[in-house]
């Protein structure tokens, strides 16, 4: 029988608890704000003998991912965590992990990239890695960070998937704030996560095989990429099935696309991460006075939930996309690009406006959200009049 402990936990602490309960074989890591608490907490679990993990304190994030790749290829359940410059420093290795089809689970405490130096939350780091071949979850709060991290093992290690998974939580806002959280008992989680039994591994000397082989011209490079694409496609139903299973155990609903009010909403905001609740809170207030507004939040960004997003937006008359990462020189932010492409494919013609917000942890006030819903009232006419900029900054001085 599942037993739940209520505790005051930060997002980082809850990720560390999820790692502990998954009891990984190897955890190579380099600490970086705002991921540091994950490392500190996990190191305590190691010292207390509560996990059997080989904890490898490495000299850089590049080495952390390199060590993770080696460990995972050897057949070990492997986890790590990073943020910001650390993720950037892992860059080339992220592609290696995905291309070698290694089910590494990594938590990223989403943070701004330098320069100027800034330790606070935005999505610049993780969305920069969007093409690296990793599955990506975005947690709204500490509880989701815990749930996503547990589910990540099942998805990554599924024989039809075998892809690395990044579970992300917004730096400081989620990583460091204390919230009321529910921790599932160890046995229930162990049964849910299961044991990792790799089909192939470097240490399986009876069945020798190679990883990261040379695949030059005409030698299966495109085929490998196609296989990654197909694995991503196969991941979506598995993400959902695992989510349903965890929902049945935890009692917390799981949807790759979370919606509020979209059944009759005319004005809808699309968002990811910790600002989702802010949007929902404003939408609730507005709906109380009869305004038809809604919220759509992507809990999974890779694979991109195009079908689910289109279904959620099909009734919208005006759409705002909130981007928390710049694509300097691009026509719009990364989320806007994906949403726009999705709407185009689905034949949805409602006007869309892109907002850049919360960069470097800039506060996401309820007033800011209210202003966006206000803008949407006249979006069609404003677009026709040519007064809408490609990207609208909100919350800057």
């Amino acid at each position: 029988m599942a037993e739940v402990t209520v505790l005051a936990g930060s997002g980082d602490q809850m990720v560390a608890e999820a790692f502990r309960q998954a009891n990984p074989d190897v955890l190579p890591v380099y600490p970086i704000t705002p991921q540091t608490i994950i490392v500190e907490e996990f190191d305590k679990f190691v010292a207390e003998g509560r996990v059997h993990t080989e904890f490898v304190p490495v000299e850089s994030e590049h080495s952390a991912m390199a060590a993770a790749i080696g460990a995972s290829a050897a057949g070990a359940r492997t986890v790590t965590a990073t943020a910001s410059q650390g993720l950037a420093y892992m860059w080339e290795q992220l592609y290696v992990a995905a291309g070698m089809r290694l089910p590494i689970v990594m938590a990223n405490a989403n943070r701004a990239l330098s320069a100027p130096i800034n330790i606070h939350g935005d999505h610049s780091d993780i969305l920069g890695a969007r093409d690296s071949g990793w599955i990506m979850y975005f947690a709204e709060n500490a509880q989701e960070a815990y749930d996503d991290t547990l589910m990540a093992f099942r998805v990554a290690e599924h024989p039809d998937v075998m892809l690395p998974v990044a579970t992300t939580l917004d730096g400081f806002i989620t990583s460091h704030a204390l919230e009321r959280c529910e921790l599932m008992d160890d046995e229930t989680v162990a049964a849910f996560v299961g044991e990792y039994k790799p089909e192939h591994s470097l240490l399986d000397t009876e069945n020798p095989n190679s990883y990261g082989m040379f695949a030059n011209l005409g030698n299966f490079y495109m085929e490998t990429k196609l296989a990654q694409r197909k694995a991503m496609e196969k991941a979506m139903p598995i993400i959902k099935a695992v989510g349903e299973e965890w929902e049945a155990i935890s009692g917390r609903p799981f949807d790759v696309v979370k919606t509020f009010g979209v059944e009759d909403a005319e004005r809808v905001i699309v968002v990811m991460g910790s600002s989702t609740g802010n949007c929902r809170a404003v939408a609730k207030t507005l709906r109380e006075v009869g305004e038809k507004v809604g919220v759509v939040s992507l809990r999974v960004f890779r694979p991109f939930p195009a079908e689910e997003l289109a279904a959620a937006l099909k009734g919208a008359k005006a759409i705002a996309v909130m981007d928390r990462a710049e694509t300097v020189g691009g026509e719009g932010g990364p989320l806007w690009q994906e949403v726009s492409a999705c709407l185009q494919s689905a034949g949805i013609t409602a006007p869309v406006r892109d907002y850049m917000y919360g960069l470097g942890g800039a506060d996401v006030t309820l007033e800011l959200i209210n202003e966006i819903y206000d803008d949407l009232k006249t979006l069609e006419a404003d677009k026709a009049a040519g007064t809408v900029p490609a990207v609208t900054y909100k919350g800057n001085r």
Binding site: A8, F172, I173, G277, T365
Partner: protein
């Protein structure tokens, strides 16, 4: 969200405001409430002015932003009153609690708090020195907060202090902290 209570803490780094913001939040959680506690992180350096936040609600809290319009402001160091606008955004019918030897009217004069704002003062530093043995005003001021606002229950606070300090601190330190809560609860002037 009608019963959401928002508290903003002002202190200098090292005075325990972050701990206080958590102490109050966790006390409320033990009484079945939902909560958030978060510091406003900057460049950490001892003595620098800092802010921390606590949210308490009987319902799940879904907003994640800084508290701009607090119901309650708690100031752990009265030298901040002339440095920081502690009343910024404080609700007109809000409460301001200050660790100081001054009385409410002196605090009102310095801060410019409107007459509608309730001001409570307590010499939490003196209480801390005489009970805990060190100037760490965060535990006693939580006792004052319980008395003045009722946002947490003082018995729950003491129970939580005892529970969370056991195993980490000596019996003497725990007894001192509990005594500090009682004294601040009795001595706060509102």
């Amino acid at each position: 969200m009608a019963q959401l209570t928002e508290i903003r803490w002002h202190a200098r780094a090292g005075q325990g405001a972050v701990t206080a913001s958590r102490l109050v939040a966790e006390t409320a959680m033990d009484d079945g409430q939902y909560m958030q506690a978060m510091p406003e992180y900057g460049a950490e350096r001892q003595g620098a002015p800092l802010k921390a936040y606590t949210r308490i609600s009987p319902e799940p809290i879904e907003i994640h932003n800084n508290i701009l319009h607090p119901d309650i402001v708690v100031v752990l160091d009265d030298t901040l009153l002339e440095v920081v606008n502690v009343c910024e955004g404080l609700k007109e019918t809000g409460t301001l609690i200050v660790n100081t030897r001054m009385d409410a009217e002196e605090v009102r004069a310095i801060t410019g708090a409107p007459a509608t704002v309730k001001i409570a003062t307590v010499d939490a530093s003196d209480i801390a020195i005489n009970t805990i043995g060190r100037d760490i005003p965060n535990t006693p001021i939580a006792g004052a907060l319980a008395k003045v606002t009722g946002v947490i229950n003082v018995e729950s606070l003491k129970k939580y202090v005892e529970k969370s300090f056991t195993g980490k601190f000596s019996d003497k330190v725990i007894a001192g902290n509990l005594a500090s809560v009682d004294r601040a609860y009795q001595e706060v002037r509102a």
